[in-house]
Subunit: 465 residues, 2 copies
């Protein structure tokens, strides 16, 4: 690179002829090569070049003859240096007009600057204001979370929310990559389901033309099983809905779940798949989202340990841990959030707990041939108190056993005839699990509440914006 | 490879010692290396090896001392050859017991066989029946589509449905790849929305605790706009819902839509993005799903032409085409399906139609500064009569203009305050579009009806299975 003073002379010479209107730059970003508009994420390819950045004012500060505009364009932030002697008064004074989150186009030469957050700086040669923002409702002072969720559409512009959303995206990308690379077929299960299979109390219902009520899916698993019989290995991935009146920090009414289902897999295969899956997700985030984890001040010690094999204990062994810790847990109950924290606290990796009493698990789970009081179920508990992130099982593949289970649970047999068909026509052992995306984001980002893990959270008391 | 006779002798020698139980093979697929269970898609890596395939009977035929089992395992089909003199009577007779869709494990040596559909064959050394299927309701004879949709969970096992679902998966994979590689942030928009923004007639509603009604989203675009202001470039991708009482071959009540939204893009940028996007999707399918397109007997002549630049005409020019064709189309109306077929019939590529009269387009579209009676809208019409697959526009970025549009349309201003905020705090030009996944699958696969493009279609008269 040439020296600063030389650069400045070049800028001045150019300024006389260009006076580019930001509108025309926007409409024809490729019209002048030297002035091409780029994203901050691509700065490293343009060091020494004169480029334009379109974005919003993130911050500004002044020290007399030098002023600094920090612009964010959604892909990063960049400090832009305005030197008074190099700029016309009109351009230099745009600094005063720009309020927080005002939109503008800034042009200048890109410099490598190791001391800057992103590693680059811009020597400003021109600034065009696009829109001056009204007084922005989010200031550097502390705001309450309820206030921030009320303006979630603006809160998403903050660096912390950026980091969370980018980790969320990476988790979803890694999930799909994992299954796509292993030949799993993506099978979108229906959102509208016909029967209130497990009672209506936790289901959202809607009128469905002349067909009565439709219920919003709580899980695509049953459809995934049909898919596994057709395609061998599938994954269902979409939003699911729970009308539970839960106000805990782990509950959303609308959340995303991925559910692989594999023909010929047994419980052991299922646990192995879950181990490899979790390792892939966590290691992908560690590899590709270090900057974001740093922004979130996430201690990654435990995340780095998410590698196959993960510890595996039976429900019975988990009960023993609770009792040794002085907990009066009764064998046969399901674990609550507090129990899960105690159990998983004994391990520094995600913990697989398998073989639960049938009473606390769903009707479709296969029973352990060694002990029919146990279901061939498995849950994965995240470390650091984040609780269950995966629930799964080997499925009942015997027609008669499944039918009697449906009757025992007083489920409407007619609604399950199609599901029973999977046991009539070439039934095979099969297994699968579901991973909740938002709880996984919460764990990997180290968040206290799942409400920050999705762009627009929906909770029992929250339906806006 | 050694000769067949030698191979057979080796098989016999091995048979004496193995007698492997399929259950134990399933539970420990890796216990005996030579007997490892593989998927049909991986056969090419195992030529000459003794392997096990777990699957379902797709077809069988006999010619005396040689019998053929065609097994499908979800990843492909394989012809397995049973030679009487090489097998025990018990094993040879499993042929008779296996009915269509019965599940079994078949072991044998993999041979390259260019005359076989997948390029391989298996010399059977063992067969273990897992489950004998009842009489399968789908036979080679022609069935009506209504009958087949009633048993959609079984219909998905047929080769034609396999091909469609694999093309669907590839389209979705290519969509995500396109945006991920260009630095777009995935932004999952909420399914539950608070206000019936455009009237309740085409919205599904559900009771939402103490907050009144929630409505199922028809589009994530408005949320995508908030995302574009935060992240620069985003894509929303999820299921959307329309309660329209439409029974056409293009309508589902539940369908998947991808909606990119980009800050600082104008209508031209938007059209360019759509062109590159469609090229990427179609060329990815042509590259990675040739086998499936052949199964579907798809003539790919038109698909091969989907490359940038695509033809672009204005609404006015489209009206001229209709009139030249003798159609009494009235300027100012929206195009119907028949009109779209006539217009797009003049082109052998997807056609972009831009600048529609404002009356037929949504309130949030920006007006053309050259002619305020026109909206800066764009639709993409697929060739071969498949109609609209993309709809998009530049958005209104001026606060006052948007507010007066909301009032003109008698929309509840309060519900749009958050959306107006995007024009209060650093408004910028921006544009985006939505692509319907099912219509795209229908077009690329050359299907007559969208009901085959999704695993479990939902229509006005169809909520099961």
């Amino acid at each position: 690179m040439t020296k600063l003073s030389t650069d400045n002379r070049q800028h001045k010479a150019k300024l006389k002829t260009k006076n580019n209107n930001p509108k025309s730059t926007i409409r024809n970003p490729k019209s002048k090569k030297s002035m091409s508009r780029i994203y901050i994420e691509d700065l490293s390819k343009h060091v020494g070049e004169e480029v334009a950045i379109h974005g919003w004012l993130y911050n500004k500060r002044s020290s007399g003859k030098i002023r600094f505009l920090v612009v964010r364009d959604g892909t990063g932030v960049l400090q832009c240096v305005m030197v008074k002697q190099n700029l016309s008064e009109e351009i230099f004074n745009t600094f005063d007009a720009l309020t927080q989150e005002s939109s503008f186009s800034v042009t200048g030469k890109v410099k490598a600057e190791p001391r800057s957050p992103g590693g680059f700086e811009m020597e400003v040669s021109d600034v065009k204001i696009i829109h001056v923002a009204k007084e922005y409702p989010i200031t550097p002072k502390e705001h309450g979370v309820e206030y921030l969720i009320d303006i979630r559409h603006l809160w998403l512009r903050s660096s912390r929310q950026h980091a969370i959303m980018r980790v969320r995206h990476e988790i979803i990308r890694a999930i799909r990559e994992f299954f796509d690379n292993r030949g799993f077929l993506l099978m979108d299960a229906p959102i509208f389901t016909p029967a209130a299979c497990e009672g209506t109390s936790t289901l959202f219902a809607t009128d469905y033309f002349d067909l009565g009520k439709a219920y919003l899916t709580q899980s695509g698993q049953l459809y995934g099983e049909a898919g596994a019989m057709a395609f061998g290995k599938v994954y269902v991935f979409g939003p699911t809905f729970r009308a539970e009146k839960s106000k805990t920090r782990r509950h959303l009414t609308e959340f995303w779940m991925v559910e692989p289902e594999v023909a010929f897999n047994d419980l052991n295969d299922n646990m192995e798949l879950a181990e490899e899956f979790l390792e892939h997700i966590v290691q992908s985030v560690l590899k590709n989202r270090q900057t974001e984890l740093k922004t979130l001040e996430r201690n990654t010690t435990f995340l780095e340990k998410v590698k196959k094999p993960l510890p595996k204990i039976s429900y019975e062994e988990a009960v023993d841990i609770l009792r040794k810790k002085g907990n009066a847990f009764e064998y046969g109950n399901d674990f609550g959030a507090a129990d899960e924290t105690i159990i998983s606290g004994e391990f520094d990796q995600p913990l697989i707990v398998h073989r639960y009493p049938t009473e606390v698990k769903a009707f479709y789970m296969k029973r352990d041939p060694q002990n029919p009081k146990l279901a061939l179920a498995m849950d994965v508990l995240a470390p650091e108190g984040y609780g269950e992130i995966i629930g799964g099982s080997q499925r009942e593949d015997d027609y008669d056993a499944l039918l009697s289970r449906i009757k025992e649970h007083n489920l409407p047999q007619e609604a399950f005839e199609w599901y029973l068909d999977l046991r009539r026509y070439g039934s095979v052992p099969h297994a699968g699990f579901g991973l909740g995306v938002e709880r996984t984001v919460s764990w990997i980002c180290g968040l206290e509440h799942v409400r920050e893990t999705i762009p627009f959270p929906r909770m029992i008391y929250r339906l806006t914006p």
